[in-house]
C-alpha cells in the first residue's frame, strides 16, 4: 500500500485539518463558517474551495441561513464523511506500520 491509495479528497493538508476538526464535534452538531475559518487560519476563499471539494464528495454539508450581513453558514460532517475519515486514518496507520514495522525484541 502507498500514499496514492489514500482517499485523495481527504489527503490534502487543509482538507485533512477541516475533516478532523469537524469530526471532533458529536454527530448532529454544526460549526459556523467563521469559527471554522478562525480555527483553520485560512482565507475565506481558500476555505470555501476546500469545503466545496468535501461537499461534492458528500463528506460535509453546508447550510446557509439568513441573507446579507446576517447570513450564517453552518458546516457539518456527514455520516459518509465520518466513515471516510475513519477509513483514511485506519489506512494511514496501516501504511505507517508497513513503512516502519516494530522491531522484534
Amino acid at each position: 500500500m502507498n500514499e496514492d491509495q489514500l482517499d485523495p479528497v481527504i489527503h490534502a493538508p487543509a482538507r485533512l485539518r477541516i475533516t478532523v476538526t469537524l469530526a471532533t464535534l458529536p454527530a448532529g452538531d454544526t460549526l459556523s463558517f467563521t469559527r471554522l475559518q478562525d480555527l483553520m487560519a485560512l482565507t475565506p476563499g481558500n476555505l470555501i474551495t476546500h469545503l466545496r471539494k468535501l461537499e461534492v464528495a458528500g463528506y460535509i454539508q453546508m447550510d446557509k441561513t439568513g441573507s446579507g450581513v446576517n447570513a450564517v453558514t453552518a458546516v457539518s460532517l456527514t455520516g459518509k464523511g465520518r466513515a471516510a475519515l475513519e477509513s483514511y486514518t485506519a489506512a494511514l496507520r496501516k501504511l505507517l506500520d508497513t513503512v516502519s514495522p516494530e522491531q522484534p525484541e
Partner: protein, 210 residues
C-alpha cells in the same frame, strides 16, 4: 518559510499522521468544553457558598436561619461561578450549533425552572406554617436533589457513567443530609457535595490531561 496551509501539496504518510494528531488536539482544546474545570469551579462555589451559610447558622439555638451577610456571600459566589461557566462554555461553544447546543439550552431551562420551583415551594411551606428548622433543611437539601436529578439525567442521556455516579451521589447527599438537622445540613452539604465535585474534576483532569 512558505505557508502551504491552503494548498494541495504532496503529503507523505508520516506528515499526514502528524496533521491528524495536531488538528485533533487543537480542535479538542478549542471546541470541547473543559468539564473538569467547570466541576472545579462549582466544587469551590458549593464548598464556599454552603460553607458560608453553615458558618452563619452554627451555634444557633433555636435555629433562626442564615444571616443576610451569609446570603449575600452565597449569592455573590453563585454569580461568580455562573459568570465563569458562561465564559468557559461560551468560548468552546461559540459557532457550534445543532444537537449539543439544543441539549444545553434545554438543560439550562430545566435547571432554572427547577430552581424557581424550589423557591416557590419553600414559600408555600413557610406559608403553611412550617418551622424555621424545617425550612432550613428544605432550603439546603432541595437544590442538592435538583442538581442530582439534572446531572444524573443529562449524564444518562450520554451514557457518561462517572458523571451519572456524581448525580446519584448528589441524590444521596440531598436525601441524607437532612437528618443532620437544620444547622449541620449546610456543613454536610458543603463537604459532601463540594468535595465530590472537586474529586470528579481532579479525576477528569487526570484522564484528559487538563
Amino acid at each position: 518559510m512558505e505557508d502551504k496551509r491552503g494548498t494541495d501539496e504532496q503529503l507523505d504518510a508520516q506528515r499526514a499522521s502528524d496533521i491528524v494528531q495536531d488538528a485533533r488536539n487543537r480542535a479538542t482544546r478549542a471546541l470541547v468544553i473543559r468539564r473538569p474545570v467547570l466541576f472545579a469551579v462549582w466544587g469551590v462555589a458549593w464548598l464556599a457558598g454552603d460553607g458560608a451559610i453553615w458558618l452563619s447558622v452554627r451555634g444557633q439555638r433555636p435555629y433562626a436561619g442564615p444571616t443576610p451577610a451569609a446570603l449575600m456571600t452565597l449569592t455573590f459566589i453563585l454569580a461568580a461561578a455562573t459568570v465563569a461557566t458562561v465564559i468557559l462554555v461560551g468560548r468552546a461553544a461559540s459557532g457550534v450549533g445543532g444537537l449539543s447546543a439544543a441539549r444545553r439550552r434545554l438543560l439550562l431551562f430545566a435547571y432554572l425552572a427547577g430552581f424557581v420551583a424550589i423557591l416557590v415551594l419553600e414559600a408555600a411551606i413557610d406559608h403553611a406554617g412550617a418551622s424555621r428548622g424545617v425550612i432550613g433543611v428544605y432550603g439546603a437539601a432541595a437544590p442538592v436533589l435538583l442538581a442530582g436529578v439534572v446531572v444524573a439525567a443529562s449524564a444518562a442521556a450520554l451514557l457518561d457513567w462517572s458523571v451519572f455516579g456524581l448525580g446519584c451521589w448528589f441524590l444521596v447527599v440531598g436525601a441524607g443530609s437532612g437528618f443532620a438537622g437544620p444547622v449541620a445540613v449546610w456543613g454536610v452539604s458543603a463537604l459532601a457535595g463540594g468535595v465530590a465535585l472537586l474529586l470528579t474534576a481532579a479525576l477528569g483532569g487526570r484522564l484528559r490531561g487538563l
